[in-house]
């Protein structure tokens, strides 16, 4: 850990932190009003770092230590509806326990920021990283933003806060459990002033505690109006794609770091492409470099914004390729994996019916994945080993 005394430097500062500590640093700069939270591995470095920051007087966030994740998200809804910026953090069973309340947060259009250190789901019990927990919450009406590196965890926490508030929808900022949450990596921190200025002050026009303008949250809406509420909510979700582009563009102005809905790596003339999310994208980039040196036209598309899924932009990025392999870090039991399904939808969306597509599931419960595994995927694709079955990289 880096001592806090150095943070007064007004420009960027180069440090090395775990993903958990980096998101806590972003939270310190954002200084949310309330954080109701319950500990669960591997989200612990997030709240452990942030609780220390608060105890040291470096942030004045009210941390509420609740008795379960169900209570954490319920308290977050109460606090955000009352009119103040609210964050929480969880993993795995914690996110699963929150499930019924996740829909209430999004239905009430409350821009809660939730940091997620993604982990496998029990049974059997496993504390290690995969995307099963996040995928289980993918249709809850929350924005989902994935991070490859510790730098992206820090940046996405800041970007995500602004994006959620601009869109009036809650957001999950996702890092891979352990691989990113517990890994010390280099990153550049922005100055406190710049971050505070970027996210601005949170104003809820319809705050529950505004006695001059009384409002109701979560009333009954029966068959005559529920449908319209849901369509309004979906309209807001659709707008997130453009909002995300705008916020990322503004972020580039303060950081110099250029982000998009997804990252394209050697896509310019690629025939064979891997689509992946999270920490494994870094390993995949090394695999791309290795095969590029051998003259193979391979590329990588790293999805950052998974919900809402940016079909149009992804289709544009994939339109000139010959084949695509989609790597999922979760099983969708009884169905095809989630990211694979979205890429399949994308190909249909744009009538790109000649592009071959394969599905690979990897890394369940923290299973390691190596550059050579990813090379193997590229070789499958280039060798024409394409069919309708899901392949498991064990």
């Amino acid at each position: 850990m880096i001592p806090n005394t150095k943070y007064k430097i007004p420009n960027t500062k180069k440090v090395a932190l775990t993903g958990g500590a980096a998101s806590a640093e972003a939270l310190r700069q954002i200084n949310p009003f309330v954080m109701p939270v319950y500990p669960i591995t591997p989200q612990t470095p997030i709240i452990e770092s942030f609780a220390k920051i608060c105890a040291d007087g470096k942030a004045d966030t009210e941390i509420i230590t609740v008795e379960s994740e169900h209570s954490a998200i319920s308290a977050a809804i109460g606090s955000q509806a009352a009119g103040v910026r609210t964050v929480t953090a969880t993993s795995s069973q914690g996110l699963a326990l929150m499930n019924e309340i996740l829909y209430i947060a999004s239905g009430m259009r409350l821009p809660i920021v939730m940091l997620i250190s993604a982990r496998a789901l029990s049974a059997p019990l496993n504390i290690h990283g995969d995307h099963s927990d996040v995928m289980g919450a993918r249709d809850t009406g929350w924005i989902q933003l994935f991070s490859e590196t510790v730098q992206e965890v820090y940046d996405n926490t800041i970007i995500g806060t602004k994006l959620a508030e601009k869109s009036e929808l809650p957001i999950m900022v996702v890092m891979d459990g352990f691989t990113t949450s517990h890994n010390v990596e280099n990153l550049e921190l922005l100055s406190d002033e710049i971050v505070k200025d970027f996210v601005g002050e949170y104003k809820n026009e319809n705050a529950l505690l505004n006695v001059d303008k009384p409002v109701s949250y979560g009333p009954v809406a029966l068959a005559n109006s529920y449908f319209e509420f849901k369509l309004d909510q979906e309209k807001a979700m659709d707008e997130v794609v453009d909002n995300c582009k705008k916020v990322m563009k503004e972020f580039k102005e303060i950081s110099g770091r250029k982000y998009n809905l997804f990252e394209e790596y050697h896509m310019e003339d690629a025939d064979t492409v891997i689509v992946v999310m999270g920490a494994t994208a870094g390993t995949a980039k090394d695999a791309v470099d290795k095969l590029r040196k051998e003259g193979k036209k391979v590329g990588l598309l790293k999805i950052k914004l998974f919900r809402p899924f940016p079909y149009e932009a992804v289709a544009k990025a994939l339109k000139n390729i010959k084949s695509v392999a989609v790597m999922d870090r979760a099983i969708s039991s009884g169905s095809m994996p989630a990211l694979y399904s979205e890429i399949n939808n994308t190909l249909r969306y744009a009538d790109l019916n000649d592009i071959k597509i394969n599905s690979y599931v990897y890394g369940l419960g923290g299973r390691d994945i190596f550059i050579k595994d990813i090379e193997g995927i590229f070789n499958d694709m280039m060798g024409g080993k394409v069919d309708k079955k899901v392949r498991y990289i064990k």
Partner: protein
Amino acid sequence: MKFNKETFEIIFFARAGQGAKSIAESLAQAAVSEGKFVQAFSFYGPQRSGAPTKAYVKISSNPIRNHEPITDPDVVVVLDDTLVTSEDVGKNITEHESVIVNTRKNEEEIRKSIRDFKGNIKAIDANGIALDTVGIIQPNGVILGKLIGVTEIVKLESVINQFREIFEKKIGVELTQKNILAIERGYDAL
């Protein structure tokens, strides 16, 4: 050492509570202070005190993108010599690479207990030196010094500066100073 490789990779074998994670992070921060790129992470199994544990450090002049665990280390550090036989500490260690072991045994004895071992053994009684300098059996500082002495992967000065920065607030000036002395003793030990 494989200095021809772009990334220098270290595995620490220890028992939970011996402070392997602390020195892995101190080393990583020292490398960062020299403008290098790092990854430092641990293997998380059942975290009961005394259980075998592993910590990994990667150091490079360029950004490290891959998130593979380390399978072909450039140097291995063993904080408890009973792990020499129970863990695969010599795996992929070649004749120009070393395994640094905290032990009172001699190097030949350790060498014999690792099957098909081709590398070098650097033995150091880190427990004894720690008892002498810090007053407790906490071998991590001493062995960190030894690691720097063997590999010169970062400057001793950078490690000491980082150690002071990280630990002075946590454990106080006096104990930090004692630990720094332990690092220096480890570095100087033949």
